[in-house]
Symmetry: C2
Subunit: 439 residues, 2 copies
């Protein structure tokens, strides 16, 4: 399917811009411009992330005006079994599927009947299992969008600051695309995460400092000639990157038979994923691909990093930063950029934001594994644990169709469940087995 809107602009803006080869026209499909989420000011597509007028976050504005629902649905359904079936709704060129990339997405939506029985859900419970992505987390979805933006803007190095999952996703995507990668991490990460970040052969730089120090360094590098030609997926390419989370909404609705879920439970780190899932669901309504009916979005955090949950419960509009201390490290962002938007969406849709303790996270990981055979990383323990808590408190209606996100793989956070071991140890004979009490 051809993109409906080809925007030919160059990317030169003066504020919060970064250097790249923008001498060729930018084709990012239906993406028409960047628009400030706060003041609505529009600028041409480019590697910029903050509004020149008010410093608000920029996001993609689309031109979907030429789409007709039935034709669009047919186009999507005949597309590939990955996120590119939704290329007409993403900031990517129409031929994106022909370029070397990891082709993430179209992960399983698992009907979780055993888990539903344990939790008392009667209206249909589903787990959207993003551990099936190429590097086993939802990060592949967002990095894939950033990669296309990097190509469009002529960047030759893909980069990011990361505490682990993102580093692997960027390294793998760059390797597959034939780009250089240079990824920045705190120098004292766990060995497993360092291996995952380094194995793809790009440059991996350990920084003597905290994740905040790494972030500050990356912002400095973007403004320096040394960062010329570098696309930082979660900084100067962030408006494109973030749109990848919309594909979770699209897939859930399509996998439910082009129907919105009544309730959806989403982990909250920066809050970007939750806001983009909401954006995706609204787009589906506006495009006429699903019936317009109410849905409720719930945010899930770990108690040890719960700035949005605390603000929600206190009735605040602003989020007070926290110093994270939780096993759910992939959600451990103490000062979440999109926190206020999460509060707004949870309140407007009739949802909530809730948190669970580390013990409850581990219990929920085990519960999901035992009932559905899905081994989730800690973030999945957070969403399942919060779902249970929300049902118990009555905030989540067990008679409604509910989707819970698992955004990562248990193999990446083995330490969280390290105590898990054998039921029994026996000698290699029947007598010893029979004495074990297992038969």
């Amino acid at each position: 399917m051809a993109a409906q809107s080809v925007v030919s602009t160059s990317a030169h803006t003066t504020s919060a811009s970064t250097s790249a080869d923008t001498s060729h026209p930018v084709d990012l499909g239906p993406a028409a411009a960047l628009s400030c989420r706060e003041c609505g000011h529009r600028v041409p597509l480019g590697p910029v992330f903050a509004c020149q007028e008010c410093f608000g976050p920029l996001e993609i504005a689309y031109d979907f005006s030429a789409y007709e629902p039935e034709e669009l649905r047919r186009t999507i359904e005949s597309g590939p079994a990955n996120i590119w079936r939704y290329a007409p709704l993403l900031p990517v060129p129409a031929d994106v599927a022909t370029k070397p990339n990891l082709n993430p997405g179209w992960t399983k939506l698992v009907k979780a009947d055993h888990l539903a029985r344990e939790l008392g859900v009667t209206g249909g419970l589903y787990v959207k299992d993003d551990s099936g992505n190429p590097t086993h987390s939802f990060k592949d979805r967002v990095v894939a969008q950033a990669l296309e933006a990097a190509r469009a803007f002529g960047f030759t190095t893909l980069s990011c600051s990361s505490t682990g999952n993102l580093a692997g996703a960027v390294g793998a995507a760059a390797a597959r695309a034939g780009l250089r990668s240079c990824v920045f991490i705190p120098h004292d990460l766990e060995q497993g995460k360092v291996v995952m970040a380094a194995i793809y052969g790009g440059d991996l730089v350990g920084i003597e400092g905290t994740y905040d120090d790494v972030n500050r360094f990356c912002s400095e590098l973007i403004g320096d000639p040394a960062g010329e030609g570098w696309g930082f997926v979660n900084v100067n390419l962030r408006p494109y990157y973030a749109e990848g989370s919309k594909t979770l909404a699209y897939e859930i609705a399509e996998q439910l038979g082009w129907r919105l879920p009544d309730q959806i439970v989403v982990p909250v780190a920066s809050g970007s994923q939750l806001t983009k899932i909401d954006k995706g669901l609204r787009e589906l309504i506006e495009l006429g691909l699903v019936e317009d009916r109410p849905y409720r979005i719930f945010g899930a955090q770990a108690e040890g990093c719960s700035p949005v949950s605390v603000a929600f419960k206190a009735g605040h509009d602003v989020v007070r930063p926290q110093k994270p201390d939780t096993i759910a490290k992939s959600l451990a962002i103490g000062n979440p950029a999109d926190g206020p938007y999460v509060l707004d969406i949870a309140r407007c849709t009739g949802g909530a934001v809730e948190d669970v303790t580390d013990t409850q996270i581990v219990d929920a990981i085990r519960l999901l594994a035992r009932t559905e055979g899905i081994f989730a990383e800690t973030a999945g323990g957070v969403t399942v644990g919060v779902t249970r808590k929300l049902i118990d408190s009555g905030a989540l209606d067990p008679t409604k169709t509910t989707v819970v996100l698992n955004t990562g793989d248990g193999l990446k956070t083995l330490d969280a469940v390290a105590g898990t071991g054998a039921t029994a140890t026996i000698r290699p004979n029947l007598d010893s087995f029979k004495a074990s009490g297992l038969v």
Copy 2:
């Protein structure tokens, strides 16, 4: 699509049989009987694995006589994006996709152009990447077949002997299906593998002994009343289990556009996977789904466990057992049951069996990650390393279409590449970065 052949037999045989509830008719779709690979003796479908006449291995005989190629192809193409699209060709009931299971398969066939350039392959190089399965190894394919057989025979406990990957696959499949699982492992496995085996909540029994001791114990248990109602996926359900590997052949051919690859490189542990891929390719020819043209099958082993490779090079028909000593632990079967069949297939198709050192395995893991963004477990390093060696020796023709299997995930064998680390460590400032030599 309805199964073409419904066989109604009970499973009682006297030799190598195990107890189960066989009072109901057995519906395993097109599976018509069990047939001895050595003497051709046929017995009804049941939980048996060795021929009563000659003790040869039993395998599934099918009734595909009613199939018409174009209709069958349409049925497959309109099926689900998992192995059940091939249900008409597997020993499973026609409604298998409606039962709770992990829905493995339909993993990516990655066109590996960067790797092809490094290896000098000009005829098209593909990696069939089975790390995308639910528990991240090809074992999910085979366990899914064993699960349906267990259901058909009325088994209530799913079991196996394992050194790791299989234990997790069985635990997850049983959890999802709502069956009990009880899995046997050597008591001194690495902690990560123990966690993966235990997390799904089934019983996990550590046995004080080697993997051979574990195997012997399981054979003892099958003959004992304590094992009544137990389906051991890789023992009494092995004929069904093994058929799962055929789906690799089906998927590769369909993903190539219903075309056979010229050459395919397959890891060899017991040898079962290679023989079933050959069986699958032959079925596609016989069913008229692909053009009948020659293909060559190559086996890949680690030098530290290379009994089949050694026999191939020596021109022997029998395989002399070895004591394994290699980092490729998922391939470390020193006395491979299907070794002679592997030799036969490699020789008949014009292929070969080759091995690589542990160092070459690690180099190949890095090569695949760097060129294609795929992080393979050691078995994937074996196939990629052997592919390189076979090209260098002239045994594999670089001008032909070649498919290399990656059967597992690098996250499961992190120790093999534990030395991988940061390119540089810097202070969080630009001067320190510029001094690192990376810009």
